[in-house]
Symmetry: C2
Subunit: 322 residues, 2 copies
Amino acid sequence: MDVSQVISSINKKNEKGISELYLVACGGSLVDMYPSKYFLESEAKSVVTGLYTANEFVHATPKRLNENSVVIVCSHGGNTPESVEAAKISMELGAQTIGLTHNKDANLLKYSNHAFLYEWGAESDVKNNPMAIILKLAVEVLNVTEEYVYYEAFKDGMEKINEIIKNGEELVEERARVFANRYQKEDLFYVLSSGASYGHAYGFSICSLMEMQWLNAAPIHSGEYFHGPFEVTDKEIPFILMMNEGRTRPLDERAQAFLDKYAEKVEVVDAKELGISKIREEVVEFFNPVLFYSILCVYREALAEVRKHPLETRRYMGKVSY
Amino acid sequence: MDVSQVISSINKKNEKGISELYLVACGGSLVDMYPSKYFLESEAKSVVTGLYTANEFVHATPKRLNENSVVIVCSHGGNTPESVEAAKISMELGAQTIGLTHNKDANLLKYSNHAFLYEWGAESDVKNNPMAIILKLAVEVLNVTEEYVYYEAFKDGMEKINEIIKNGEELVEERARVFANRYQKEDLFYVLSSGASYGHAYGFSICSLMEMQWLNAAPIHSGEYFHGPFEVTDKEIPFILMMNEGRTRPLDERAQAFLDKYAEKVEVVDAKELGISKIREEVVEFFNPVLFYSILCVYREALAEVRKHPLETRRYMGKVSY
């Protein structure tokens, strides 16, 4: 079943239709959900959304959760205990669950009313990756609950984003090598962005830098930067700024102007310059994080290579008990 | 007017009553709103909430905002341009605005249908500080829209928290000095917490450490720690863990158990040990961040003293244009 059929069938199940869409996962999978949270919080007038790290959802389950709620749970390996538990609890409370995983034998599937076994890897079209699938689900939920006026523009954007990314990846390959050479000895990076991409500023920090490179990192919302964080800025601290196309671009531009003046180690990744404007302006902002994920993968690969720290290296995850 | 009267009068204004409570601010004021977001997302079955850094709210205003919405805007100095603009936009869209500030001449007041000039400083009772006022407003909103079953327990907790804090501050004074001496040469701290207190893990990072001490810092949600961030853990990296009493305590305990094993520079601030359990268990979790704010102020003062970097020191904020 495709996303449209899944949401349409759930919406018809109850008289009231869908009233909530909860997004529940851990780490990188939670990051993949942020654009959908941003999309619904921005666009929806009726359906309510909530984004939860799975163990918090399990221990402090929202009282709003009911049989008209949809809970999307995503787990790459499909067996993260707290994610599986979140799906189980949701099902017990009568909500409809949608499980996303890359593992056809996942425990998560036992508690998924609907499931998507997604594609993964550099060869897959991004529209079949979890971030895009979850965003498509969110768009469908909006469209069945109140009709999304830019539904066709969004679908058109989803058809275009993979090629935009492929071009972008080529454009940044040399830049990423220069970046990796220049910053190979750094042990801390701040990652700035806004809007739909703030989740990916968080994701690049915790997954790509902390988990895969054992480097210190922190996300900063471009809008929040001026209200505390900017006081650490000097010519020695490295910043990565992901500049969005769309409504929150002025926030990123303001951060850029400040960094231009007071910092020296600044890497700007600009979605506009990378060609995202081929997508219609009414929906382009929701595609920024899809682009940034793939583009920043080129950067992290270059960094891993020059630092001789392969991206798969772990000391705790899957190796010790916790 | 007190919080109860303000919310009751707003709720009677429209036939439908209050349908949304938006929380909009920047930096430290935004931090003060997080417990209310957590409270409503957890407890409310009807009213919807949203937490926004002001400039994102201004540039990507949620389409849901309407004449049944309440928008709380908080700004200590009351003239933060994007916060004032957020209140102005909200008012223009017909929402009811509540402004909180410490400045009786604030521009924010021009766009506030209701206003609270709050108390500030070590001598004030915390129930008159913005974090508590906003939480009381959120509780009133829940109570008028669907009746909050633990309303009396919450009010009782609000009467008790100031004394709990005073006792706690005495308890940690010597510990804070030891902490400051031990960690005075560190240039990075990770701050962990969960539930209602996650916002304060963020707040201690961006306000107390980054802004006031020019130290690198990042918040980590205790539940997310195991899904990426924990890979940076070693015996050299300092962690501050704020342990909540209440439903998300198991998340903090899990982080503590891991840190006990793999880290050495760990400062635990435990709300339970500091006496918060005098507040009824049905509501205690919402008071953790009120306690943590004051307790961590003792830590940051000790750190500022030993590092000879006064808390008021700024290089950019209010000194250069941005």
